[in-house]
């Protein structure tokens, strides 16, 4: 199926999209409702399936999934080895599968290496392990700056790296999706896997935050 013609690159498509934007009702909420009812009437979508999809991403899929993966990697050396060797398969052990998580790569942060994930061209993100991306990840500021000024961006997240820490920014240009394994915080030797998972933040699994020790947090 070819949906694009020779005119696309010269802006014909873009102008069409623009025109169309002008001709649908102005309020986005009304426009979406109108389109949904059209698609339901034509039998293209089932509103109950839409409800189920919204519910799934609002309540069932999210960064708690990734946190469980990270906590296991911290506590189970064999699992960590499998995760680093083939993240898709290792994550599948938890059942965290599906769209935008088919080709996973795990990246391990160390005292000397900070991995940071971005998608400069759109907002690719590992949905099954982290849910849908936060607004900041989709922002033009993050997309434009993460590759040219990663340390400046990290500073805005409160993360000041030593000059000799190697910063690795992963720009998700393909269908690979990246999960950062943050460093396990000090002072967590006594915690079990579930308690450890509770410490893992979404931002730490994107690489823009490092985890403080629970004692530091308690202060």
């Amino acid at each position: 199926m070819s949906v694009t013609g020779a005119e696309s690159a010269s802006g014909g498509e873009a102008q069409q999209a623009d025109h169309q934007h002008q001709t649908v009702p102005s309020d986005i909420s009304l426009r979406v409702k109108s389109l949904e009812s059209l698609l339901v009437e034509k039998g293209l979508v089932d509103p109950a399936a839409l409800d189920a999809l919204v519910d799934t991403y609002e309540h069932k899929v999210g960064p708690r999934n990734g946190a469980r993966v990270v906590a296991r990697a911290w506590t189970d050396a064999a699992y960590k080895a499998r995760l680093l060797a083939d993240a898709s398969t290792a994550i599948a052990e938890f059942g965290f599968l599906g769209v935008q998580g088919e080709h996973m790569v795990a990246l391990e942060n160390t005292p000397k290496i900070q991995n940071v994930v971005v998608c400069t061209l759109c907002s690719c993100y590992p949905w099954p392990v982290l849910g849908l991306p936060p607004a900041w990840y989709k922002s033009n500021a993050y997309r434009s700056r993460a590759v040219i000024d990663p340390r400046g961006v990290l500073q805005e997240f409160g993360l000041e790296l030593a000059a000799d820490v190697e910063v690795r920014v992963w720009d998700s240009t393909a269908e690979l999706r990246y999960l950062v394994i943050p460093e396990r915080p000090a002072g967590t030797e006594d915690l079990d896997e579930a308690a450890l998972a509770a410490l893992v933040t979404r931002n730490s699994m994107i690489g823009v935050e490092n985890l403080a020790s629970p004692k530091q947090v308690a202060k």
Binding site: E13, S37, T56, V99, H103, R145, A163, V169
Partner: protein, 222 residues
């Protein structure tokens, strides 16, 4: 295309907006969730592929691209592609009603299927021994200096720059051709490691690196 979406390395967008992680909603508005869900529910009809979908967001006029919110872009893309593929007509979108006598279908995605679609793995294996990689880990490569008018996933900031193959990600569809109906042209994708100094010049930190996932057709031996 060298569109506004290709914004890696741009200045001027200010600070990264920060929402508290604990309280930021998945969808900031109800309609955002509906746009997301409709897009996903249309997926099984296979009216367009993921590369075409990205391409049709990139083709928004730059001023609109920057003005629109994320899901507003998704919505506009969806309407454009539904019309373009003949799935609905412009008149139907404007009226919100199916044209008299138009076909009534059965939704491809039922509520029962959602857990499987959302949460299960459903992807062609990327192991295709018949497709031989052009490069190996450790090899020095140069990203081509090309200016495709259509969809591409080679950002401008990396073109003409030298890097090192970090790892082979296996075989994937080639977005440049897959986006506009010229076929998947499956080939190897690699993580390629570029030094920040190669990309941005001598004032960048010697300890910073950018990894890009790049296809065989974007690379030449350096």
């Amino acid at each position: 295309m060298n569109g506004i979406h290709d914004m890696g390395g741009m200045h001027g967008f200010g600070r990264v907006p920060q929402d508290p992680e604990a309280t930021e909603p998945v969808f900031h508005e109800v309609w955002e969730g509906r746009v997301y869900a409709i897009t996903r529910a249309l997926g099984p009809w296979r009216k367009w592929n993921i590369d075409t979908g990205r391409y049709f967001i990139e083709m928004l006029p730059p001023a609109e691209y920057l003005r629109m919110s994320y899901y507003e872009k998704w919505f506009t893309r969806m309407v454009t592609l539904l019309i373009k593929t003949g799935t609905v007509t412009r008149e139907e979108v404007e009226s919100g009603r199916a044209a008299a006598g138009s076909e009534r279908l059965t939704p491809a995605l039922t509520p029962e299927m959602v857990p499987a679609v959302a949460l299960n793995r459903n992807i062609p294996s990327s192991y295709e021994p018949g497709i031989v990689p052009k490069f190996r880990a450790g090899e020095r490569v140069r990203a081509l200096n090309i200016q495709p008018l259509g969809h591409t996933r080679l950002p401008r900031y990396a073109r003409g720059k030298m890097g090192v193959i970090d790892r082979d990600h296996g075989v994937h569809n080639f977005p440049d051709t897959n986006a506009d109906g010229r076929g998947p042209k499956r080939q190897h994708v690699y993580a390629v490691r570029f030094s920040a100094r190669e990309l941005w010049g001598p004032e960048a930190s010697a300890h910073d690196f950018v990894y890009l996932d790049l296809w065989d057709d974007y690379l030449e031996r350096a």
